[in-house]
Each structure stands twice: as structure tokens, then as C-alpha cells.
């Protein structure tokens, strides 16, 4: 099946970015876990207040960017492993990328809105 196709020529950057995002997600993820534990039960106004703190908003935004990138590539690898029909796999991969981009958009927008709402 894969004979004589030669090198895929790309993928090394994806591999490297997974390593780098993993490294960044160690502190970012721990911070997120701690933050969610403390703000999870709060009222909506209190959550918005928490997001007005520039450090909270920025680090959460960073988590969105790094975490969603990591998640998108992770899911990509899983889809490439388990979906054998090329047409289904390609549609799934496209849907995966779009869904993660959408999540980044919605997430960042929500954070910025909460940070600036009066």
C-alpha cells in the first residue's frame, strides 16, 4: 500500500509543534486546572470580574491558542490512524480543523468580551 511513494516531505514541523505545545501546556494546564477549581462555582458576574484581571484573561487566551492547537493536531493523528476510507477521513480532518478554529474564535471573543464589559 505504501510502497514506492517516497517521503511525505511534511510532518516534522507538526511533530515538533506537538512537543513545544506539550511543554507550554504543562504550566498553562496546571494554571487552568487551579483556576477552574476556584472559579467553577461562581456567579456569572464574578466570573466576568475574574476575567477583568489582565493576567487571567491573557493566560487563558494563551491556553486557548496553545491548547486548541495541541488538541487539533492530537485529534488529527487519531483520525489518520483509525479512519481507513480516504473520503470519510478527509472530511473528518477538515471538520476537525474548522471546529478547532471556531473554538479558538469563540473562546478568544468570549474572554475579550468578559474582560472589557462594564
Amino acid at each position: 500500500m505504501s510502497k514506492d511513494l517516497g517521503s511525505a516531505k511534511h510532518g516534522a514541523k507538526d511533530w515538533w509543534l506537538m512537543k513545544v505545545t506539550s511543554l507550554a501546556l504543562i504550566p498553562l494546564g496546571l494554571w487552568l486546572a487551579y483556576s477552574l477549581m476556584t472559579i467553577g462555582g461562581l456567579e456569572q458576574s464574578q466570573v466576568q470580574l475574574w476575567l477583568k484581571n489582565p493576567i487571567h484573561a491573557t493566560v487563558l487566551g494563551l491556553f486557548m491558542l496553545v491548547g486548541l492547537h495541541h488538541s487539533a493536531h492530537g485529534v488529527q493523528v487519531v483520525m489518520e490512524d483509525y479512519i481507513s476510507t480516504p473520503s470519510v477521513r478527509n472530511i473528518a480532518l477538515i471538520a476537525n480543523t474548522l471546529a478547532h478554529l471556531a473554538a479558538a474564535g469563540f473562546g478568544l471573543c468570549a474572554i475579550i468580551a468578559s474582560a472589557f464589559k462594564s
Binding site: M1, K19, S22, L23, L25, I26, G29, L30, A33, Y34, S35, L36, M37, T38, I39, G40, G41, L42, Q44, V47, Q48, W50, L51, L60, M64, G67, L68, S71, G74, V75, V78, S84, T85, P86, A99, A103, F106, G107, C109, A110, I111, A113, S114, K117
Partner: protein, 131 residues
Amino acid sequence: MTQSNPKRPLSPHLQVYRLPMAALMSISHRASGMALTFGVFVLVAWLWAAAFSPECFAEFHKLFSTVIGKLALFGWSLAFFYHLCAGTRHLVWDAGFGYAKPTYAITNWIVLMVAVVLTLGFWVLFAGVPQ
């Protein structure tokens, strides 16, 4: 391969062989990652509700107050700490350490125990602590 003739039978594997610890941990790393992907989408929805919709936010609060909701939150935290610990071990391997079989066997259990300890520890220490 399955693509050329899907009707040909596959040799049984999961129904027959007991997976070694390393293999169980590897598939758990993948499964916890998928669970976390789902969780991060829920997080985005929650943040959206917090910014724009009191009704949706209240709905989230209600859902997470149920037994299933709390189980889901606990599950996500366990998935997170497991994925964190197993993932850190992956980075250690990438740096070149820990491949010898005895070391490998020990780190299997270290990863698992640290993940459980961190999960329980976080819930005990931080749940509901005022910001």
C-alpha cells in the same frame, strides 16, 4: 488491507491478548486526550455563556450540579492529570531517558500514581477556594 476488501476477516487481537501495562497506558493517553478535546469545547461554550448569556450560564451551572455533571468534571480532571503525567513521560523519552525495561516498568506506575495523587490533591486543596 481493509480498503481493498472490507469483507476479509481480521485476525482477533483485542479479544485474545492481554495488553501489557505500557500498551494500556498508551491507549489511555490517547483516550484521555480525546476526552480533554471534548472538555475544551465545553469550556469554550461555558466561557461564551459567561460573557454573553445568563440563561446559558445558569443552565451550565445546573448541569454541573447534577451527579452526572460532577462525575464528568471529576473525569475531566483525572483525564487532564493522567494526560499531563503520561505526556511529561513522553517528553522525557524524547530527551532520551528512561527506555531501559526496568526503568520503563517503574515509570508506568509512577505516572499512574502521580496522576491519581494530583487529581485527588487538587480537588481536596482547591475546589471552591475563593479567588
